[in-house]
């Protein structure tokens, strides 16, 4: 994966993506192709179930410098804990509204259903979000701090 993190409105920036994922979606045994990519830093945070993702975890990921946050959950109807993925989706929708309200933009937070072990789908999602966030530019929350 090439780190095409250049948006003409901003200086070249290292894109930071935080991925919260259910361990049933994928686990440490999978090798991700962007492990050596220095232009895109991806922080994977595994959860025993996606329903463990709280509103504050998503916001704190942005506080910690993420330009985008992705939540990967099991397909609907396939959650081991019945409705964990549905609860995660509700929380993401809520936090998207908070992000819109504070001006950071709900588009920076996304949720995807991923079948267990579907490595191709995961790579495609991350590439898609990477391109989207490159177009948006760095997170205004820490872009201001970087300039200060």
């Amino acid at each position: 994966m090439s780190g095409v993190c250049v948006n003409s409105m901003y200086k070249k920036f290292t894109l930071k993506i935080t991925v919260f994922h259910c361990i049933n979606t994928f686990n440490d045994a999978m090798t991700m192709p962007w492990g050596e990519d220095k232009e895109v830093k991806i922080n994977f945070i595994k959860l025993p179930c996606s329903s463990m993702v709280k509103d504050v975890f998503l916001l704190r990921a942005f506080e910690a410098g993420a330009d985008a946050v992705i939540v990967m959950v099991c397909p609907e109807g396939a959650c081991r804990y019945v409705e964990g993925n549905l609860r995660a989706k509700r929380r993401v929708l809520w936090v998207q509204k908070v992000l819109d309200e504070i001006g950071l933009g709900g588009r920076r937070l996304t949720i995807f259903n991923v079948a267990p072990g579907d490595e191709n789908a995961i790579v495609k999602i991350i590439e898609e979000i990477r391109d989207d966030v490159v177009a948006l530019g760095p997170s205004p929350a820490h872009y201001v701090a970087r300039l200060a």
Binding site: K54, D55, F62, E63, G103, A141
Partner: protein
């Protein structure tokens, strides 16, 4: 319980704008249950405020604390140290909690972060409904334990009005007709004929309309 709703972040941001160091103080009882002011909401709001202000190049130090109840002195005192470290308190309690904190710490600005809305119940997870107006003269026994004061849009004591359709109120079809509920309940209890009795107009002086109320229990005052 008291049901409340967190204010919009823009309003909260404007309230805390003059301060550089604030304590967001949660309340672990009613407003926690309705997701407005418990530990989780304190943490989420702190983070959202820091992010919102950082985008304007401003910094704010936010301390977080949640006490069991902000309407009782023994719990309020647990916040004393944290309050002394900050310029202002943003309270996520109901209006009673905000005022009790302000009364206990007269030199500290105490700001409300929640709009207190009603006395209600958790009908199902995520749904809270108004059930009581605190009118000071409970007549639930006459109405099969369904309150027409709080739940009938017209507050009719001698209903129904005749405007409901399929058990829903004509004022808003999302509202259950309280009088339909009263009749159904009294039918189940075999007490329908009790509705033949005329109910006298309510004495609103016992409600907040008669001015702020006080409850004195001499047996508990030393």
């Amino acid at each position: 319980m008291i049901v409340g709703e967190q204010k919009k972040i823009a309003e909260i941001k404007a309230l805390v704008e003059p301060y550089r160091r604030i304590l967001i103080l949660g309340c672990g009882t009613c407003v926690k249950t309705c997701f407005a002011g418990g530990e989780d909401e304190v943490a989420t709001l702190s983070s959202a405020l820091r992010l919102a202000l950082s985008m304007e190049g401003k910094e704010i130090a936010v301390e977080e604390l949640t006490v069991e109840r902000q309407c009782e002195d023994e719990f309020i005192q647990e916040a004393a140290e944290a309050i002394s470290r900050n310029e202002a308190v943003l309270s996520l309690a109901c209006g009673a909690g905000v005022q009790d904190i302000a009364r206990t710490f007269p030199k500290v600005p105490v700001l409300p972060g929640v709009n207190t809305t009603f006395i209600g119940i958790l009908e199902k997870h995520g749904l809270f409904t108004e059930e009581c107006l605190g009118c000071g003269d409970c007549k639930l026994a006459l109405f099969g334990s369904v309150c027409p004061i709080a739940r009938c849009s017209k507050k009719l004591l001698n209903g129904p009005c005749g405007g409901s359709k399929n058990g829903k109120c004509e004022v808003d079809p999302a509202i259950d007709c309280a009088w339909q509920l009263i009749i159904d309940r009294l039918k189940d209890l075999g007490q329908l004929k009790s509705l033949k009795a005329y109910v006298e107009p309510k004495d609103w002086r016992r409600s907040n309309a008669g001015g702020p109320r006080k409850l004195v229990r001499q047996d508990h005052i030393v």
